[in-house]
Symmetry: C2
Amino acid sequence: MDNQELLRKFEPIFYPKSIAVVGISQNVFKVGSIWLKAIIDAGFKGHIYPVHPNGGEVHGLKVYTSIKDIPEIVDYVIVSIPRQAVPQLLDDCAGRVRAIHFFTAGFGEAGDETGRRLEKELVQKARQGGFNIIGPNCIGVYSPEARVPYGPAGRIGEVGSVGFISQSGGIGEKLSELGVARNIKYSKGISFGNGIDLDSPDYMEYMGADPKISVIGAYLEGTRNGHRLFSTMKSVASLKPLIVWKAGRTKVGAAAAASHTGSLASSAAIWSAAMSQAGVIEVQDVEELTDTMLIFQNLGQREIKGNGIAVVGGLADGGGGISVSASDSCAELGLSIPELSYATRQKLTGVLGIVGSILRNPVDLSQSGSNRAKIKEATGYVLQDPAVDLVILQIDAGILLKYLPWELVQSVFNVFIELSTEQRKPIVIVSPPGASETQRLEMERQLCQASIPIFPTMRRAAKAIMNLSRYSGSRGCS
Amino acid sequence: MDNQELLRKFEPIFYPKSIAVVGISQNVFKVGSIWLKAIIDAGFKGHIYPVHPNGGEVHGLKVYTSIKDIPEIVDYVIVSIPRQAVPQLLDDCAGRVRAIHFFTAGFGEAGDETGRRLEKELVQKARQGGFNIIGPNCIGVYSPEARVPYGPAGRIGEVGSVGFISQSGGIGEKLSELGVARNIKYSKGISFGNGIDLDSPDYMEYMGADPKISVIGAYLEGTRNGHRLFSTMKSVASLKPLIVWKAGRTKVGAAAAASHTGSLASSAAIWSAAMSQAGVIEVQDVEELTDTMLIFQNLGQREIKGNGIAVVGGLADGGGGISVSASDSCAELGLSIPELSYATRQKLTGVLGIVGSILRNPVDLSQSGSNRAKIKEATGYVLQDPAVDLVILQIDAGILLKYLPWELVQSVFNVFIELSTEQRKPIVIVSPPGASETQRLEMERQLCQASIPIFPTMRRAAKAIMNLSRYSGSRGCS
């Protein structure tokens, strides 16, 4: 399938012109009803068709008694009905819909004979009826541009260039939430559950072909066709960064995966080796997945020439200990903390003086006396050093605010927003939680909007940078 | 020195009856002046003596022109004057003070001849003058019970049973801040910088002997006397949990440590082996240090019979993916996720039903429909299972709040406060950050006050539990 065909195939799913919701009821606490309301509230512009045998009206919309009564071919159907009612529904859908998403669970993952039998029947009926199945046992599509919110909870964030693929609905929900919280802007996302028809390789191929997506993050538990998955990963990873978190790595994790999405997880070592060969960026948990999506989103367009990191800390007081431990975290994760040139150190001494300062690398700015001009000048010299490819700044709001009023703290972090726009070397910020959370979150919001990636710990920043730097390196940029 | 002598020796330092501040000025932005104000504001009950050659009055207190004019022997002197003025000050102090703390830097760590010479002179004069030196190049004492705040920033939290020892003033500041933020209640803390007189083993011995301290956390960069440090660690670790974060593990980290506190850091492997032999709990960063202090503070008094963890998630929706990845994190860090007994699974099926649920371990509560009674009953059965020694609960405020109003979320987490008090097996909570931070922080505050330890990620929870469980195991409890 060429790119144009792929984009066309997935258009009814990610840019539906009509959505039917099957399984709504007058009980507003039923998931189908909540979902319907969420789609309306998100501002979906296409046709919306609630379906229930009793008919009537809900939220000002006519309720259709059957999918067969809807006057057009429906692009995307969301189904939340008991599993035993599913085969009849599929018969009704034949030739009348383009894609059906099943929130309904209790198929292959349930582990009983009925579940397995039903799953096979579903695939057959989809082939015959000429539509695709998303799921079952999943939350389906998230498409901010098409105003399709993520699931019944209805979260919808700003439109961006990140795509996510999640075998788990809950992880997908966390990814969409962290998108809003951490300024990761999605183009689209999918939770695909058991993946009995469209499976992870299908979504990867599509997102690989989609020009609106610049980086893909995936949560996988297992696959039905390892050979196809790995060949797809390889071709997609050659086009754009593909970040994969493979859960079910351990024996207990694999057992949980079998109960969850009916996945057969195989050995962690085999997966890791195959992903590495495919050029995939492998991550270990939801934190590293979102950290890595964030750094690619914000810094993927900057040229990272090498592996040399400068760490700058001590904006208010006591940068020494943080410098020592930052060096450890970076070095342990494989980053290089090069010595600054003699010229840079001379310039720093000129700005900051000697006593109590650490003017090697890491650089301790505590002698700046929180003077905005000195901080900007000193950090500028560090950025200019030829051995430095990226600067990590430790901005500890909890400590800064013990010494400085909020206005001054704001003017200090504005220095870094200026530096980030005035020159091309990337700046990354470590902003540890503490006792001044309201202000810290506001500070992070402002820095986020300036496209500076922010991480809560030095170790997480270092891991994300390492993932970015390895990828740039493998592309011949370093 | 027996325990009583040790406690007496350190009494002027941690429970001073009088404090002199040398290096104040009329300039309220000078660190000495800020510090003086912080001590007054913290409500220190003893005598306070500002010292400055010009005399006069400040904050309603008489300013003494010299330490020699103060009408009593001063317990604790805080010094923030240029390094060249220090020898004269020490002559003035001979026989008139019990302990001097130098915020002043520029000694051994500066790397110049003057710094090294001055450092030797300081030790000599302390011996001759009959007083102890804290530092130089540090923030000194934190003693909530004596109302001595931590440093000029003046942070002071509730009184508790945790002690910290930090070679870095900045790390000490972060520890005191995270104490307030995460409900780690300190009995006392110390930042000791270059440690030229009283060094890390002295503070460890003291905190080991102090009956008010039940767990000690330390940040070290290096030591002047490895033999003494390790024999002290061994004897202190036999009395109470001693958690040590040794920074400067890598080559760049060690170089930063030399600039910071003049420490000679030796190889990470040597330190790790020696700490392990001494029975020390080794941690790797400020997060793991505070996580581990927190878990010992809150659960150190509960009996941990073994290594069996049950993970409970999915309170609102989609616990499946979290269950899989939680299993991985626990198993990778060495914890055991035992199968629940047949009886427990039968009881869970009775409460939660089958379809869409994961009733093994991890347990997915999403089928509880966020029903308070069902959540309590199901979690109670899990706690009662004979293979379960500790329960990790995933409470995701950001996702819960998308489905439930705040009052209902509160009543859900109150279930766990009840369960924690009604039975003896420990409960640990993982509360990931997200898009509903204000409510999450309020929720954490309430759970904290019920002495339930809270961690932001599954991996960090698992590490802290592993540290606790290993310690209990080595004490013959598991």
